[in-house]
């Protein structure tokens, strides 16, 4: 195991703790939008997809990477937009 991977574990552990603490008392009304928003954030894998699709790894990597970009983008764009739509319903009524 290399030093870099070990350091990555520090960030991993810290991010888990931060994630655990971020959500405490969410009213039931917001469960679905929050789930949907978090789902969109999990599309962060799009960065890896971009690196693969646009990198210098040959045809197979390009193709697979492109597909990864596509699916990740569906997740990101669709996720944030659908969340926005749900939240609009709450917002427009205050």
């Amino acid at each position: 195991m290399t030093g870099e991977v070990i350091i990555a574990f520090y960030t991993f552990v810290l991010a888990c703790v931060a994630g655990f603490q971020l959500i405490s008392k969410v009213p039931p009304t917001l469960h679905t939008p929050l789930m949907s928003g978090a789902n969109a954030i999990s599309g962060i894998t799009i960065l890896g997809a971009i690196a693969m699709a646009g990198g210098t790894g040959g045809f197979a990597a390009h193709i697979i990477g492109m597909l990864a970009v596509l699916f990740a983008t569906v997740n990101v764009v669709g996720g944030f937009m659908v969340t926005e739509r749900m939240l609009k319903m709450f917002g427009s009524r205050k």
Binding site: M1, E4, A8, T11, F12, A15, C16, G19, F20, L22, I23, V26, P28, T29, L30, T32, L34, M35, G37, A38, N39, A40, I41, S42, G43, I44, T45, I46, G48, I50, A51, M52, G54, G55, T56, G57, I64, G65, M66, A68, V69, L70, F71, A72, T73, V74, N75, V76, V77, G78, G79, F80, M81, R85, M86, L87, M89, F90, R93, K94
Partner: protein
Amino acid sequence: MLGAANLPLNELLAHFGYIVSILMFMVGIMLMGRVKTAKNGNRLAAGAMLLAVIAQLVQMKTIDPVWIVVGLVVGALIGAVASIRVQMTQMPEMVALFNGSGGLASLLVAVAAYAYGGIPSQPLAGATIAGSRGDVNGLAVMLSILIGGVTFTGSIIAFLKLAEKMSGKPILLPGRHAVNILLAVLVAVFIALGVWVLGGGVGLALLVLVILLSFIMGITLVIPIGGGDMPVVISLLNSYSGVAAAMAGFALGSHVLIVSGSLVGAAGLILTQIMCKAMNRSLANVVFGGFGAEAATGGGGEYKNVKSADAETAAMVMADAQSIIIVPGYGMAVSQAQHAVRELAKLLEAKGASIRYAIHPVAGRMPGHMNVLLAEANVPYEQLFEMDQINEEFKSTDVVLVIGANDTVNPAAKTDKTSPLYGMPVMNVEEAKTVFTMKRSLGGGFAQVKNTLFECPNNFMIYGDARKTLEEIAKAVKEG
């Protein structure tokens, strides 16, 4: 390649972009937890994603843009169109599909990382990605594939169940626990073989095997779970897809992936637990219980002395009522009755009645289901009340309209210790002067238990599709 050498400017900028976007994600998630700030939270997170993508492009020295652009444009189009065209009531299915898409993306990233030159013999992404090599990379690739694959097929099954393209009933294969254990052992062996025994180099055949197994596991994990539990399952799968992204981050040595992915993984897990708690269940119970399957044999139970009424009678009673509370449930979603409800409420308000809506935290088939539907029908916000706020008010209320709710208004949850619902807080609708319950039959709700409300002397069933019933009542009110 991160190391002791000084970083070029573009990498420096990229990393600052990543760090800022991580902060924005965290604040965004926090804001999404409160009604007032939720919208800003979502936008902040979306902005963070944009920033992270830009930072990624800045970080890469040589870009072959075609592939990226094609993927981005097509993906964005699909996502945008799908999210605009989806009906409010189909949100849960949609979220499931998006989530599966994200899981598949993480799987593909890991495969691409492998295709990039094999793990770990060749450098990965040149200067653009930190290239820590070794067993851990192989392991991360494998785990990213496994978790991504499970997320993918699991979400598809969840989608199919929610969209009713597949029976919502739990499908309990004989010996399913043994099968699951076998699958887990198999996949562990393949991963270990690929990563350690073959010396950190993952063979293509093993990779394909792991992909296949992950797909199968996603299916076997989700089919035994009842359709009603799908929201919890989706939330759990959402947590998984975060972990898959984090694993892809380990594989590529990308800290922003690791951090954001595990952030979502942890937050999603907590959210899942909160959702379970609101349903008075445990997570283990949802995942392993096959809950609803066993109970389903119980059916709706035998009923005695059930009274019913027709739309005209109900209209008469309501027209005279001073205070009316409307209690919607899953049946309102099924019959798409939200607009009809609002119309009737307007008519009754015009007649001088005070109208309030009582929302049970787990009414419907996903948290917030009723809120979203009623919002779609433009019900004024100040008429909506959470259960805790209104539960004491029923006893001083003239008429309660139960619209396709069942479990959430079942008094047995308060009194019958043998009921599967026992302990779940329910609405005290039976305390009102008169209750009208609209549903198609005496059939059970999600939990398939007998509802003692139906036998209460002050309760009247109005059989039929909820929307039709409501429209008939509205017509009668208008005419009468």
